[in-house]
């Protein structure tokens, strides 16, 4: 939020609504009504004096009505802008705040303003509101105090919430000992016309169940569910850990009724346990209804103003459910995030970035961002004057380590002038606190004790620049990911460890130095590796924006996995028809150079200036590019010989083989078809993850078979039916209505496939997990829903481009939730299922998102290269050449000089690993920013006590 608000190309309109839109793509006129804030944003300093005197108390909407706020207020502590507003509906016009406001920022007579802006594109990112479960009266919401929703729970669990992070029962403020999370409230519920699956709530339900366990390790925590749909990256692993290691009890069965015991205010939750068939009554002292998303209030008005259609689930309708998820029927208007149906954070980010990419294609290239140099308003002292800022991370740190103690400790360290703590240092007010403290205390060096440098080093460096300090006089100490969150049950030890880490960080910041930079002219050319649906979209977006693109593909034909499919879910379109125009567009695009049957041989250089050698047949070609997008896709899990009879009996095939037979018309009329889910996915040993798409693929192919041969019996043997994605739950319901039979099996008791020795007829034996009876079904075809595995050769790609993989073997992003497109190698981005299995619309969104992110250096034309590089002390160097041999980047050469041989570093080629420094036998090499004196200072301080 802070970044968006401070971006020079972003104008923020808060407390505002769109009233009218006229015009067309490239030239929209938008009338915006700015509601009066009654506080002048330019004058308000956020001091809070007005808040103290305001006599009115109103339920706080941000805390879901659990706490109170005043009539003059800031909605929440990280709000942007951090200017107060007066809620005139509740204000009693006492004018007390006016009297207290020193900057005279309050104006009771402020009028609404109508602003007209001219824009080329519009993106709708209106999000969602939480479903209000009170229409489901039997669940007791709004009747019993101790039945709350997830968002209410989140406020209770949050350090800035009404209870300061203490999870308590609303009725008596006591800590709950038995908590039940009820899934699918307002979702998968035809009775109230909410057919859709919300996609995100299985995960946030179990996340919050885990939070109860963190607060109260002895509490009994239940999750009542229909299917656990943990179908995202590392989700299945998260689920298994909550179940097996955290002791959370998952009960398969939808809660049908909740009643209160009026004496204890405890709740009795009734449900049918689908795994035992028993009716169970679970008593709890707190029930959390994991409520689904609803289209945000005002969605229909916005639709009317923009002329957009609303789909059956109530969210905006995209142009095409499969191949145009970011666009709408109206050219120039796009959808981002949950406005196009429920999504979790990374999917929302990819979808919104996809919309950003689509929406800027016709806008031309924006003016280059100019850096404004800020000079401090005070004289910087020679002596180090350090400010230490300890972050609570909204409880992620402060719940497990004593942040007040850390602040007091830090303040006493040598060279430290001041130490402060705050709930979110990275937020706008947190950064403001740092800037103000710098000016007030005339600080010249800063240590922030918070989270990982991977996420926020840049944030705080920018903050230092904003305060006029050199951004390299800064050290981020990780007391969150490397301390509080990994020692949750040992607050004392966590606090002591944090002290050591802070002491070490302070010692390092004293010794730090400025790092010069060098501007690199960006080759305004992109390389995209992999021409599946995702890579194709990355290529088209960048090419349409005017950049040259090399699109390389290992296979002879482009189109990737999608090309091999017969039809798409949930639209049942023939993929050929959807894919063909895109392939033609790629082939004929004047900005795209397509290289098929081509593989990467080597890569060197850095963001803005890579040299990649590719091989096509016997021909080697060098490509000079500025950015690289990896859209390398996935491979199919190949069942072992004899796994479910695969390769022994020709009638045991994979879903992909089935699609090929269907596509070529070779699939003959069967009597019984049995599909087996989770082959090579969700395994105890081997692939632990859920492959995300196979349930949907099975549903689709089951439907196709039933449509073609209505007499054929189709069985789907599954563990949890993960109809994941927009309209897929509705699709699942349709497949059920069509008579496809679903049999749940237990992971411990997988189906057995055997063949009759004489007739070779296949027989599938499975124990139905609901009725607990073993059944045998003869089958003409057994179709294995095999999982998805990392692409063949992915290890080599990691090595070539200096990137990493997550435990599941897929490519690793900078941040699983917040930065899904970037890798740890600057200028190298990920698109599509290379990061994790994805369906077509998600692959498209991510491909376009990668194009959007990759276009930033391409548009800017220049990147700054931090010269964290090796330095040679020529007085000491004897030119032995060990460094030249060890350097993996050919960045060091031994040169003859009048004084003899000496090592010379090419600072553009040098990547700053420091191998040469450690290898130099006489100490002539050093690495800027990681010099021995800097490392040893932090090491000595780290182990000092």
């Amino acid at each position: 939020m802070a970044e968006a608000a401070s971006h020079p190309n972003v104008t923020l309109y808060t407390l505002s609504e769109v009233k009218e839109v006229n015009g067309r793509a490239g030239d929209f006129k938008v009338k915006i009504l700015k509601h009066p804030r009654y506080v002048d944003e330019t004058k308000c300093t956020g001091c809070g004096a007005c808040y103290e005197v305001c006599p009115v108390e109103v339920p706080n909407e941000f805390d879901m009505g659990l706490g109170v706020r005043k009539a003059i207020y800031v909605p929440f502590p990280q709000a942007v802008p951090l200017t107060r507003a007066i809620d005139k509906e509740h204000c009693v016009n006492c004018r007390m705040c006016i009297g207290r406001c020193k900057p005279k920022a309050i104006d009771y007579d402020m009028q609404p303003q109508l602003v007209e802006v001219n824009v080329g594109s519009i993106i709708v990112t209106t999000g969602y509101d939480e479903f209000k479960p009170d229409i489901r009266k039997e669940l007791g919401y709004g009747i019993y105090q101790n039945v709350i929703t997830t968002l209410e729970f989140e406020r209770l669990a949050h350090a800035t919430g009404p209870t300061e992070g203490h999870i308590v029962r609303p009725s008596d403020g006591k800590a709950p000992q038995r908590v039940i999370f009820v899934q699918c409230v307002g979702a998968r519920d035809l009775k109230i016309n909410k057919a859709f699956c919300n996609k995100a709530c299985c995960m946030y339900g179990m996340k919050n169940a885990g939070i109860v366990k963190m607060h109260y390790p002895d509490a009994e925590v239940y999750v009542s569910y229909i299917d656990i749909r943990a179908a995202g990256k590392l989700f299945e692993e998260f689920y298994q850990a909550r179940k097996d290691q955290w002791g959370i009890k998952f009960v398969k069965g939808r809660a049908s009724k909740i009643v209160e015991d009026p004496n204890t205010k405890n709740l009795i939750v009734s449900l049918v346990d689908m795994q035992t068939g028993d009716i169970r009554k679970l008593e709890a002292d707190l029930v959390v209804l994991v409520a689904a998303f609803e289209p945000a209030k005002g969605t229909e008005e916005i639709a009317k103003i923009l002329g957009l259609k609303i789909a059956e689930d109530g969210f905006f309708e995209e142009k095409h459910a499969v191949v145009a998820p970011n666009e709408t029927a109206i050219s120039g208007i796009y959808l981002g995030g949950v406005s196009q149906g429920p999504k979790d954070t990374p999917d929302s980010i990819c979808h919104a970035r996809g919309a950003a990419s689509a929406s800027t294609l016709n806008l031309g290239i924006p003016p280059q961002l100019k850096e404004v140099e800020v000079k401090p308003e005070f004289e910087l002292s020679e002596e180090p004057k350090i400010g230490v800022f300890v972050c609570h991370c909204g409880g992620n740190i402060s719940n497990y380590a004593n942040v007040q103690e850390l602040r007091e400790y830090a303040e006493k360290l040598p060279s430290v002038a001041v130490a402060k703590d705050y709930v979110f240092m990275c937020s706008e007010p947190g950064q403001k606190l740092i800037k103000e403290t710098i000016a007030e205390k005339k600080l010249n060096r800063i240590t922030v004790a918070a989270c990982t440098p991977r996420v926020h080093e840049l944030t705080f460096r920018k903050c230092l620049i904003g305060a006029g300090l050199d951004p390299y006089y800064f050290e981020l100490v990780n007391i969150r990911d490397q301390d509080s969150l990994v020692h949750m049950n040992q607050p004392k030890e966590a606090t002591e460890k944090a002290k050591d880490l802070i002491r070490s960080g302070v010692a390092r910041v004293v010794k730090l130095e400025s790092v010069p930079s060098r501007e690199i002219k960006v080759q305004q050319v992109a390389l995209i590796i992999g021409a599946g649906i995702s890579g194709i979209h990355s290529a088209l977006d960048l090419a349409n924006r005017g950049f040259k693109v090399y699109l390389i593909e290992r296979e002879a034909e482009i189109g990737g996995r999608m090309k091999k499919l017969y039809k798409t879910f949930p639209t049942n379109d023939e993929t050929e028809r959807l894919l063909k125009p895109l392939i033609e567009e790629v082939k004929n695009h004047s900005n795209i150079k397509l290289l098929t049957s081509t593989e990467v041989i080597s890569s060197s250089g850095t963001i803005g200036d890579f040299a990649v050698i590719v091989k096509q047949g016997s021909k080697e070609i060098e490509l000079k590019v500025g950015v690289i997008i990896l859209a390398t896709g996935t491979s199919e899990y190949e069942p072992a010989h004899g796994e479910f009879g695969y390769k022994i009996n020709p009638n045991v095939i994979t879903q992909l083989e089935l699609e090929q037979q269907l596509k070529e018309g070779k699939f003959e009329k069967p009597n019984n078809v049995i599909m087996i889910q989770c082959v090579g996915s969700r395994q105890k040993e081997g692939n632990k993850y859920c492959s995300r798409i196979c349930c949907n693929v099975a549903l689709k192919n089951a439907m196709i078979i039933r449509e073609k041969y209505p007499e054929a019996n189709v069985y789907i043997l599954y563990r949890d039916l993960r109809a994941y994605g927009r309209r897929m739950e509705e699709y699942y319901q349709k497949v059920q209505e069509m008579g496809v039979m679903f049999i749940e099996y237990d992971s411990e008791k997988p189906p057995e496939v055997t063949e009759d020795p004489s007739t070779k007829e296949l027989i599938v034996k499975v124990e139905d997990a609901v009725i607990r009876r073993t059944i045998e079904i003869p089958a003409d075809k057994v179709v294995l829903s095999v999982g998805t595995v990392p692409q063949k050769g992915i290890e080599r790609a990691c090595e070539l481009f200096g990137i990493t993989r997550t435990a599941d073997g897929f490519l690793e992003e900078v941040h699983l939730k917040l930065e899904p497109n970037a890798t740890r190698a600057p200028g190298v981005y990920i698109a599509g299922s290379a990061a994790f299995p994805k369906d077509i619309p998600d692959s498209i969104s991510m491909g376009r998102a990668a194009a959007s992110v990759a276009s930033i250096p391409l548009v800017n034309g220049l990147v700054k290269l931090e010269l964290v590089t090796a330095l040679v002390d020529e007085k000491i160097c004897v030119g032995c050449g060990i460094c030249e041999t060890i350097c993996p980047f050919e960045a060091i050469r031994i040169e003859e000089t009048p004084k003899g041989k000496v090592a010379v570093v090419n600072e553009v080629k040098c990547k700053g690993c420091g191998q040469c420094v450690a290898a130099c036998p006489i100490g002539a090499m050093s690495l800027r920013y990681w010099r021995d004196e800097q490392i040893l200072a932090s090491l000595e301080a780290l182990l000092a006590e």
Binding site: T804, T806, Q915, V917, A918, A919, L939, E940
Partner: protein
């Protein structure tokens, strides 16, 4: 993942394990560390291509030194894992702590 591990570990960040100098490791022992674990990228996945292998060579050398000094070569170990493999990191910490516990507190501790 929030997997929990022994809080006696202290982290020092370096740009690459290829930067790890024999001097740094010995200094840590001089300052009283009971053990030093070097956590490097997986082999073949080093962002700087060979940094982890260079570190491995140096750690093998330090192991010899520690043996000669009578401190025990198990006081220093190198582990290869990716930043996405929290489970492996936790297992490495466990392994390291067990090894050091077997050897007892460092005799260099003041």
């Amino acid at each position: 993942m929030k997997l929990q591990y022994n809080p006696s570990v202290r982290m020092l960040r370096l740009p690459c394990t290829g930067r790890v100098d024999v001097l740094h490791v010995l200094k840590a022992f001089e300052l009283g560390a009971d053990g030093v674990m070097v956590v490097a990228c997986k082999k073949g996945e080093c962002a700087f291509e060979t940094g982890n292998l260079a570190a491995e060579r140096r750690i093998m050398f330090v192991k010899k030194l520690l043996n000669q000094l009578g401190l025990g070569s198990d006081r220093v170990n190198i582990y290869f894992l990716s930043s996405g493999e929290a489970d492996k990191f936790v297992a490495a910490v466990k392994d390291m702590v067990e090894k050091v516990k077997k050897l007892g507190p460092s005799p260099l501790k003041k």
